[in-house]
């Protein structure tokens, strides 16, 4: 009998990341929609608050971050739904790799397709809100880390609500309170950069959030997935 | 007592309305929080009594496991 070859975690993670990236490339709407949503909602604010650049640039950090937060939430709503429906989540739980590590590839692929793109594109949207280009590096850095933490926390909510009908709204209710510190740190970083202050404190906090999230969130995601598989 | 008269207690030089409103809005939920589970428990208790009387099982005594 051919003994199943011993499982190599790194290889497993690489192949799963590839799998999810391939799936995302095959369904581009899943990648482009959050970006369009991000742009569309940003356009709403000048219409609502008036076109005057000074006022807008004052509110720009808050607007950019709130919109990034909402588009991240939208991504998390679709995170495990397809995999649960076609049974891939079940197989992931059966893999001999600990589930908390097995879910990471999917998060990495989702982050690459959403968080990364969002952060790289955000300076352009910032310009529309009167955000000077000098601030762009801080904006991109803070969004890169912020979207990573938001994806990790959102994945915890997604794992808990994937088994529930209309779990999307429930996910927002569960996760938005947890997004508050990220929003505060992110906007703080931008405001400090805008007023010539020192954004490194806020960026450091975001960095701590990423490392803390990477360590703790997968445990909760694995527990959440196991609960959703029971239903 | 700190206040000279009941009127002073009620008025609390202008802040009485807020203090008494706050106390009212605190004590009402607390009373509901205590009374509601008691009412629900009594309902369940009566339901179990009716249930066991209706099916006439002799639950207690040596019979032990209810003869269903």
């Amino acid at each position: 009998m051919t003994e199943a070859r011993d499982i190599d975690i790194l290889h497993f993670c690489r192949s799963q990341t590839l799998r999810h990236l391939m799936l995302m490339v095959r369904s581009p709407s899943e990648v482009i929609n959050p970006l369009l949503f991000f742009l569309l909602v940003i356009v709403l604010f000048p219409l609502g608050l008036g076109p005057d650049p000074e006022q807008l640039s004052l509110l720009a950090p808050g607007i950019l971050w709130v919109v990034a937060l909402l588009s991240n939430l939208m991504i998390c709503m679709r995170l495990f739904v397809d995999d649960l429906e076609d049974g891939s989540l079940e197989q992931l739980a059966m893999a001999r790799v600990p589930l908390s590590i097995a879910v990471l590839p999917q998060l990495l692929a989702s982050w690459l397709a959403s968080g990364l793109l969002l952060s790289l594109v955000s300076p352009i949207f910032g310009l529309m809100l009167g955000l000077p280009l000098e601030v762009a590096p801080v904006l991109v850095a803070s969004l890169l880390m912020g979207t990573a933490i938001m994806l990790l926390l959102g994945a915890v909510g997604a794992a808990l609500t994937v088994g529930v009908q209309r779990g999307g709204i429930l996910l927002a209710l569960l996760i938005l309170p947890l997004y508050v510190p990220i929003l505060i740190a992110g906007t703080r970083a931008l405001n400090e950069a805008l007023q010539g202050g020192d954004p490194t404190v806020a960026l450091a906090l975001l960095g701590a959030g990423v490392t803390g999230g990477l360590l703790l969130a997968p445990l909760a995601i694995a527990a959440g997935v196991r609960v959703s598989l029971e239903l | 007592m700190y206040f000279e008269s009941l009127a002073a207690l009620w008025d609390m030089d202008g802040h009485g309305i807020y203090v008494w409103l706050a106390y009212l809005l605190t004590m009402c939920p607390i009373i509901v929080m205590v009374w509601l589970p008691i009412k629900r428990f009594r309902q369940h208790w009566r339901w179990i009594e009716a249930e066991s009387r209706r099916s006439g099982i002799d639950v207690g005594g040596a019979a032990g496991e209810s003869a269903r």
Partner: protein, 200 residues
């Protein structure tokens, strides 16, 4: 650790307040073929999922098993946007890292020789089921937990599968599968009728 691949002692499974099954005892030795038989709704799938440890909240009792498990549930765990070859190569169960030749061999064994690069979404239900079952022909776990493996398969498919079960059992593996049809696997098959474990 005993050589048993799976050992369950007075396992009881609940669904809400109702007890589905109680005192289920089963010992699966290498080389065994077990069929979990019983009417619909008796709890075949729940029992199999508890063996796979996918269901554990409302399951009480002792259960110990080897880690080397292959589980095929009702859903075919395939992605429509990927070809059968990619589905098997990047399968989330990650049981093994099959080479392309092994994958083509497995797909040929289940009768999908020409379909390696067709989009899985365009395959019929029976063909999708076969792609899922092609995993049995790749190097995989010693203990197989299969949920209704014979559904949506034609007579030829069933025969191929039964032959594979016998080969796997002889090679020291074990198969536990649920099916309400009676599979003619000859002497080696032992049937566990769940009627005897029906909860109150």
């Amino acid at each position: 650790m005993t050589t048993a691949l799976l050992e369950a002692r007075d396992l009881s499974i609940h669904k809400g307040l109702r007890q589905l099954l109680k005192d289920v005892t089963l010992c699966v030795e290498p080389g065994d073929l077990w069929q979990l038989a019983g009417g619909n709704g008796i709890g075949k799938t729940s029992l199999l999922r508890s063996f796979a440890r996918l269901a554990s909240i409302e399951v009480y009792g002792d259960l110990s098993r080897c880690d080397d498990v292959l589980y095929v549930g009702h859903s075919a765990s395939l992605k429509g946007a990927m070809t059968p070859r990619q589905n098997l190569k990047y399968h989330p169960s990650g049981l093994c890292t099959p080479t392309d030749t092994e994958i083509d061999g497995a797909l040929a064994a289940v009768g999908l020789a020409g379909y390696e690069n067709a989009l899985t979404a365009r395959l019929s239900a029976g063909q999708k089921r076969r792609v899922a079952l092609a995993r049995l022909f790749l190097p995989s776990g010693r203990l197989w937990l299969l949920d209704e493996p014979f559904t949506a398969l034609d007579v030829a498919g069933v025969a191929v599968l039964e032959q594979r079960f016998r080969a796997h059992a002889q090679a020291g593996g074990a198969v536990v599968f649920t099916s309400h049809q009676s599979a003619d696997l000859g002497g080696t098959l032992s049937v566990l009728d769940l009627e005897q474990f029906r909860g109150d």
